[in-house]
């Protein structure tokens, strides 16, 4: 009897084993199908695309250190790609336009020649403020462009050692020269605001292209429409880069977060490169673009004929008030070879 029970137990066990094998067989066959080995792994880019934000939990007390967030990637892309394109197109575009303009138009001459009589254009204080702002701007621009383009353009040329040293000094200069630059922008705003309010004369000046093409000389008061544009670019652009620059210099003050700092950097970068592009035009017309223009900021006086051609309404006011400064002689115009001539 006991033997029979043992045999029955053996048969029951064998049947149970057969049932288990029969049920498990389909699963085994499906597990052996070829599968994508990374199908179950998290693809970072897919995850970032499918989710606007990735929520997590941090244990570091300083929550500003949580940089693993989507806006951080957007900002990095702007900083490393978009800003390069904006700056490159703006600056190289303006440079290309200036080269083309110079090659076709050449230096804008004093058509009637120099009179030998001068009139005071800018006082010593005005020139001081202009050069205070201008010299700071040039260093700020070069050191700022180094931050954006230096690693791509300068590092391969001068090597890591020299680039590091230069960049360190450039950043110090960028920080500290912001103070005299800001003072200069404020002084420019207060000093020249009265002469830079747009008026009907500016509309006419713009309609006639500012006399840039051909031999037209549209009338203008002390500042023409082009100079007024430069003035407001300096005031508004200078204020924007100063405010955003100080936000970056004093990060996270006043309860600002990472997103605020990113906005400040984006505004600072975009305004700065556009500012540089605009100032290239200003520098051009104040130096090689127009005969007699640099003397206004260099010596403070301009030839009467220059003033008559470019700022006739202002000259009439000045002549009625003080008369030309005949005690100062002007050098005679020297013919300069230009590519267009």
């Amino acid at each position: 009897m006991a033997k029979l029970i043992a045999q029955l137990r053996l048969v029951a066990g064998a049947m149970a084993l057969a049932i288990i094998v029969a049920v498990a067989a389909p699963q085994v066959s499906s597990a052996q199908q070829p599968v994508n080995p990374t199908a179950n792994a998290v693809q970072e880019q897919q995850l970032l695309k499918s989710l606007k934000t990735i929520d997590g939990r941090g244990t570091i007390p300083d929550k500003k250190s949580y940089v693993l967030e989507q806006p951080g990637r957007d900002w990095r892309h702007f900083h490393q790609v978009t800003l390069h394109w904006i700056g490159g197109i703006a600056i190289l575009g303006v440079l290309a336009l200036l080269v083309i303009f110079y090659l076709t138009r050449g230096m804008i001459r004093i058509e009637s020649g120099r009179s030998g009589r001068t009139v005071v254009r800018f006082t010593a204080v005005e020139r001081f403020v202009h050069w205070l702002t201008a010299t700071c701007f040039i260093i700020l621009a070069l050191s700022g462009l180094n931050i954006t383009f230096g690693r791509a353009l300068l590092l391969p040329l001068i090597g890591p050692g020299a680039f590091t040293t230069w960049s360190e000094f450039a950043k110090y200069a960028h920080n500290y020269l912001s103070f005299p630059f800001t003072i200069g922008v404020v002084a420019i705003f207060l000093m020249w605001i009265a002469g830079n309010i747009p008026n009907r004369v500016d509309v006419e000046w713009l309609k006639r292209g500012g006399g840039m093409v051909g031999h037209d000389h549209p009338p203008a008061y002390r500042f023409n429409a082009g100079q007024k544009m430069i003035y407001w670019i300096v005031v508004i652009g200078g204020t924007a880069v100063a405010v955003t620059g100080y936000l970056l210099m004093f990060p996270f003050y006043g309860g600002l977060g990472v997103g605020d700092m990113q906005i400040a950097q984006v505004v600072h970068g975009v305004v700065a490169v556009l500012f540089v592009a605009a100032m290239l035009g200003h520098i051009y017309i104040g130096t090689i673009g127009m005969e007699g223009a640099f003397e206004a900021m260099g010596e403070g006086t301009v030839d009467v004929n220059w003033a008559k051609e470019h700022h006739r309404l202002w000259l009439e006011d000045e002549m009625g008030r003080v008369g030309p400064n005949e005690s100062q002689s002007q050098p005679q115009a020297r013919p300069m070879a230009t590519p267009a001539e």
Partner: protein
């Protein structure tokens, strides 16, 4: 030329003043953005 030279001198002076002001206000990044339990640098 005098205006340019004096502008450069004043810019350097103001920048120097800014240097001392900033040194008194700013703290190093490893101090500003870490807690007392963090050790950075050598």
């Amino acid at each position: 030329m005098k205006a340019f030279i004096s502008a450069c001198i004043v810019a350097i002076i103001v920048a120097g003043v800014g240097l001392f002001v900033l040194q008194s206000l700013q703290v190093p990044a490893d101090v500003a953005f870490s807690t007392s339990s963090v050790r950075l640098g050598s």
